[in-house]
């Protein structure tokens, strides 16, 4: 077990290293440097001095090594766009908002998705099931920014129940979370339904019924416990979707989180910020996958490592 985790972590470090090289190469090839179309006019000397200050006059491999040396000390450099703030502190300042949004979304997604899935499994092939299936198809195929637009148009502009955007209190949370949670609700309820349907057919469930156990006990003790274990694996793949989703949701609802920096930092050619974000998200995704795999072993004794 420990050995497995160690191998996975080593593999992870390798992947991140290669990814950082690719990202570094990709972003430094972008036409126009950070001060190419700057707002203020600069003489060539000033520009050269600025480039020297940030080390942009050095060959790209040297820049990469300098960056890597900083990363070891958890220093991702200074943001070009916000010269008085380091990338680490910028992320530390704006990430809580994104995390808050993401956590609420996950809560809603599981809180609605699992009961919906169970309901449509128990009432299999009735109108309740069809309605839930239809809902999850729509949730599945409609991108979050489309939901965002439809929700703003209906609930904020037409009905005027909620604000169109911003992040100042609970009434501002409702629409972004709903638009954000729709797709995960669909995924979760689909998987839950399939999983519960399979568990309902299992022999031990029939045995439990045959020995006269009441329906509630059969469901809670024999069906749901077995059916919900596979749901752990749904959790992992949801995270990348949530992470990319934050870019769009935050842009549409004007949420001052980390996601909006993706767009702004790339248009500003803010190299340290771009690579900081890429690394942060790659680490996050990789760790979620690792945790999912480990959790799965703890929850399901049938799975064993090679």
């Amino acid at each position: 077990m420990v050995r497995y985790i160690l191998t996975r972590l080593l593999g992870l470090i390798f992947v991140l290293l290669v990814l950082s090289i690719i990202t570094f190469w990709l972003m430094h090839g972008v036409p126009g440097g950070p001060w190419a179309y700057g707002q203020q006019l600069m003489s060539d000397q000033q520009l050269a001095a600025l480039k020297a200050r940030y080390g942009l006059d050095k060959p790209i491999w040297e820049q990469y090594l300098i960056w890597l040396g900083g990363v070891v000390r958890l220093d991702f450099g200074m943001s070009f766009k916000h010269p008085d703030e380091s990338v680490t502190s910028l992320i530390g300042r704006t990430w809580p908002v994104t995390l808050h949004l993401g956590a609420m979304t996950l809560l809603v997604a599981f809180g609605v998705g699992i009961p919906l899935g169970i309901l449509s499994a128990v009432k299999q092939n009735t109108w309740v099931d069809y309605l839930a299936t239809l809902m999850s198809i729509f949730g599945f195929v409609t991108p979050h920014f489309v939901w965002g637009i439809l929700f703003i148009l209906t609930f904020a502009l037409y009905l005027k129940w909620l604000p169109t955007g911003g992040w100042d209190g609970p009434q501002y949370w409702v629409l972004p979370v709903l638009a954000y949670a729709f797709a995960p609700i669909a995924t979760i309820s689909r998987y839950t339904r399939a999983s519960v349907v399979e568990a309902l057919r299992a022999d031990h469930v029939r045995t439990a019924r045959a020995k006269g156990l009441n329906e509630r006990a059969v469901m809670s003790r024999h069906v749901l416990r077995n059916a919900l274990i596979p749901m752990v694996t749904v959790f992992g793949p949801l995270i990348p979707d949530l992470i990319t989703g934050s870019i769009f949701i935050e842009a549409i609802f004007r949420v001052p989180g980390l996601g909006s920096y993706w767009v702004t930092s790339t248009f500003d050619r803010d190299y340290p910020m771009i690579i900081g974000l890429v690394m942060l998200w790659a680490v996050l995704i990789a760790i979620t996958y690792l945790i999912t795999d480990i959790l799965y072993v703890f929850l399901d004794p049938r799975v064993r490592f090679r």
């Binding site: 991108p143 637009i149 767009v263």
Partner: protein, 315 residues
């Protein structure tokens, strides 16, 4: 003598019969499913809209620029009067802030969206299938190298990877196509590898080898046809994902360049910023994206259910 025997070895009559009936059954199951019919209707309608947006297929013969057919105007034809006009009789979906007819732009947008999605999945198949087949068939070092590439590529979500590639190459139609092909082959590769890994150990492959079939014959004649069903499903379901990815890239401003219309770009450039007053700028492209993804997803789901033999036993 050898050829005759090899032919029998590679295409046993019983297997041919079974294979043909599997696909015939699949077609029957597909058309019995109400949702797949709805999906297919949407897809066919969209394809017609995309192809017949203008008469590009006869225009070169007549020696003139294509004239709009389903679209009312050219996508870049601007009118001074109706800038931002609301939906009405002349402009069904209103006009954008440059005074261009939204209906025409949405119709031409279908062409951009569908062509990128379908072509990118075709190229992804061209990369992913051979790579996956090679990794699964050869195993060992080849497999190790391919799987490490796959690992690195899947460390970031497809969209972010495509975003970075677009940043380097700049926004354009062909670059979006390239970025999406380069990022979506991974899933096809992984799937093909898995299929080849399991299928190469199967008895019929061993039998083919025992009667002296050469490798290409085993790979193309035996394994590939058996591995095809899940790959078809994966490619079909890749299309709505590619539509979503193109819309997202264009939304962020690194996808399709104006004046060429793309639904995502229409939302991102004018739609979001002006939603409080010019609601039609965001609403119609949003509906177009949702409808297109719905159509292709329903077709993909229908194909998956139809091609999965386990579904038959279950019901």
């Amino acid at each position: 003598m050898a050829t005759a025997e090899l032919d029998v070895a590679n295409r046993p009559v019983s297997q041919m019969l079974r294979r043909r009936s599997l696909y015939r059954d699949a077609v029957r199951r597909f058309f019995r499913n109400r949702l797949s019919i709805i999906g297919l209707t949407i897809v066919v309608a969209l394809l017609i809209v995309a192809i017949f947006a203008d008469d590009w297929f006869v225009a070169p013969l007549l020696g003139r620029a294509p004239q709009p057919l389903i679209a009312h105007y050219r996508y870049d034809e601007a009118f001074v009067g109706p800038t931002g006009a609301f939906p009405g009789e002349e402009f069904w979906m209103g006009a954008d802030l440059n005074g261009r007819d939204q209906w025409s732009r949405i119709v031409y947008g279908a062409r951009v969206s569908l062509s990128i999605a379908i072509l990118s999945q075709f190229f992804a198949l061209l990369i992913g299938l051979p790579m996956g087949a090679l990794a699964g068939w050869r195993g060992g070092k080849v497999d190790y190298v391919v799987m490490r590439i796959v690992d690195i590529m899947s460390a970031l979500p497809v969209l972010l990877l495509a975003f970075l590639i677009m940043l380097r190459m700049g926004a354009s139609y062909w670059n979006v196509l390239l970025a999406l092909s380069l990022t979506t082959w991974i899933e096809i590769c992984r799937l093909t590898r898995g299929q080849f890994l399991t299928l190469r150990e199967k008895e019929f492959v061993e039998a083919a080898r025992a009667v002296g079939s050469r490798t290409p014959r085993i790979v193309f004649g035996q394994i590939l046809p058996n591995a095809l069903a899940p790959i078809i499903v994966s490619v079909t379901l890749g299309i709505p994902r590619a539509i979503f990815a193109e819309a997202s890239l264009s939304f962020l401003g690194v996808g399709i360049n104006p004046p060429t219309p793309s639904w995502g770009q229409m939302i991102g450039r004018e739609g979001i910023a002006n939603m409080t007053y010019f609601w039609h700028l965001a609403l119609f492209p949003a509906i177009a994206i949702a409808l297109t993804m719905l159509g292709f997803t329903l077709v993909g789901d229908g194909l998956r259910d139809a091609l999965d033999p386990k579904m038959v036993e279950g019901k």
